[in-house]
């Protein structure tokens, strides 16, 4: 079952199998990283398959247990459409749900929209899917190309970027972060509290580095020894972040 991240939240592909099975798989997936998706909204892709209202309710309830609010559904046909409506889900067009940013799905700036959980319920310091634009479908994420200022990637597992991560960009991973390029933005590895998480970069020049609950800023350029473009690794040692140069 696909869990896709879009700028309007999570997109859950639930039409591939009966909802009853989907609930079990959903629980299994979310149990692996219970806090990661907290505070996110979700749109359910229901397709045209008939299902019982109780089954759909079970899906919504399961999501809620993990801090995810289901507030929309993509339906093909009247059967699923009325099912969705009776569950309190508003109908969303497929193109809108999958689009990078749609006016319809934008958060109501006036406050917490109907039913939306207050994002403050996530533990301070823990970052997850709710703070990122692009959440990977699989636990591990692989991104090719420059990550631009203002873009944010998140992975429930490890995150690999082949390309630069520019200043103003944010990477979040429950596991490790590997940047095959220059890391100039903010990277948070071990985002759910894993102190052993590591950040790797060909050029480690981050605005800020976070591993688990530790935060460090990069030392000012003049304080650093002549580094050329040597790869570096950041990990936690003795309760704070250290940068280890990789000597070939």
């Amino acid at each position: 079952m696909q869990i896709k991240g879009t700028k309007s939240g999570l997109l859950l592909h639930l039409y591939e199998r009966p909802l009853v099975e989907a609930v079990a798989e959903l629980r299994r997936r979310l149990d692996a990283t219970p806090d990661f998706y907290k505070g996110s909204r979700a749109v359910l892709m229901l397709g045209a398959e008939h299902a019982e209202p109780a089954e759909l309710a079970a899906v919504v309830a399961t999501l809620e247990q993990f801090g995810i609010v289901a507030d929309g559904a993509v339906c093909e046909g009247d059967v699923t459409a009325s099912l969705a409506r009776s569950a309190g889900l508003r109908l969303v067009a497929a193109s809108v749900a999958a689009a990078p940013r749609s006016k319809d799905d934008r958060t109501d700036p006036g406050g917490t929209a109907n039913g939306r959980l207050k994002p403050g319920s996530a533990k301070a310091g823990h970052r997850g899917a709710a703070q990122s634009d692009n959440v990977s479908a699989d636990a591990n994420a692989y991104h090719k190309g420059t990550v631009r200022s203002g873009q944010s990637l998140a992975a429930a597992g490890n995150l690999v970027v082949v390309g630069d991560v520019n200043a103003g960009a944010e990477l979040t991973a429950v596991g490790d972060i590997v940047v095959w390029g220059s890391l100039r933005g903010v990277a948070h590895a071990g985002a759910q509290g894993d102190d052993s998480a590591t950040v790797y970069a060909l050029r480690l020049e981050p605005t800020q580095l976070r591993i688990s609950r530790c935060i460090a800023t990069a030392p000012p350029p003049d304080k650093r020894r002549a580094r050329a473009s040597l790869p570096e690794i950041a990990k936690i040692r003795d309760g704070h972040i250290v940068i280890i140069r990789v000597d070939p």
């Binding site: 190309g145 631009r148 203002g150 082949v162 390309g163 520019n166 103003g168 960009a169 100039r184």
Partner: protein, 303 residues
């Protein structure tokens, strides 16, 4: 059981290639702009994120240069509410109807288009001064751009600063984008943000504006190379800073019409590169004459 030893001997050493840089942007790799099949013009949005880096001046001058090269050009002011393209072109007194009127069906396209005083093949579609950007629905904007592409070889869309609805409206319907930035940290950061927001299909090119070679040499300004180490875009122009630009803008004359202006010459070269010519980007540090004149122009040194 697979013969591992043999397999190992079979594999030849991988070739090591020199790579320039890690894989680039959301932008497609530099390729020639789509050539018009039947009469379908090219739609190019000029954008930057940061305000005041020279989008409007670039739009006006590029449009003028392309018109001089024999193409039919329409420059579209997408900055609803804060229009300036008309002023830069010296056409503000000839503006009566505008883009929003056309979209709302209050007038025809021809009634809104303003023809340039000098170049007959250059026209302006002005922005409305008194409305707000939320007023323009994206799909209507896309339709308008499509319409314009059927009539003109080039549709240059002057994008407002920012990343809000004004920006989104200006981008919809554009096949190409020219990102304009100056060699300053904030401008480059904003340009990077913009690149991240442009749709994947758009072909992106870069213009670095207001370069001051003397400051670059002193180390008090980023070099073009520094800028593109971050942006990693297909560079199509470097435009030097000159006081002529301010005078020209205030008078409503394109700077390319000012005799001896290096800035004007740079814009002409950008137009030619857009047309597919492979002109190398001059390194301003080399031209001794240029530097002396340039410093004089800025009021530094003896004339």
């Amino acid at each position: 059981m697979p013969d591992v030893e043999n397999e190992r001997r079979e594999a030849s050493p991988a070739t090591v290639e020199q790579t320039v840089a890690p894989a680039s942007a959301a932008a497609s790799p530099a390729e020639a702009a789509p050539k018009p099949a039947i009469k379908t013009g090219r739609s190019i949005v000029l954008t930057s994120g940061k305000g005041g880096v020279g989008k409007t001046t670039t739009t006006a001058n590029l449009g003028t240069a392309l018109a001089d090269a024999g193409h039919s050009v329409v420059v579209v002011d997408a900055d609803v509410g804060l229009r300036n393209l008309d002023v830069v072109l010296g056409l503000e007194n000839r503006v009566s109807k505008h883009l929003l009127d056309v979209i709302e069906g209050k007038c025809t396209l021809d009634e809104a288009l303003v023809r340039d005083r000098v170049r007959r093949n250059l026209q302006l579609l002005p922005a409305a001064q008194n409305r707000e950007k939320d007023d323009v629905p994206e799909d209507k904007m896309a339709d308008l751009v499509r319409q314009l592409r059927e009539r003109f070889d080039f549709v240059l869309i002057d994008c407002p600063a920012g990343i809000e609805q004004g920006f989104r409206n200006a981008v919809v319907g554009a096949q190409e984008a020219v990102v304009v930035t100056t060699p300053e940290v904030s401008a480059v950061r904003d340009a990077d943000r913009i690149v991240g927001l442009l749709p994947q299909e758009i072909v992106i090119k870069l213009v670095v504006n207001r370069v001051r070679p003397a400051m670059v040499r002193k180390g008090t300004m980023m070099s073009v190379a520094d800028v593109n180490a971050i942006l990693r875009l297909d560079l199509i122009g470097v435009v030097p800073d000159e006081r002529e630009i301010i005078i020209a803008t205030n008078r409503g004359t394109p700077v390319i019409d000012i005799e001896g202006s290096e800035t004007g010459a740079a814009f002409r070269r950008i137009a030619r590169r857009l047309l597919g010519e492979d002109i190398p980007i001059p390194s301003f540090e080399d031209k001794g004459n240029f530097i002396t004149r340039f410093m004089t122009t800025l009021g530094v040194g003896r004339s």
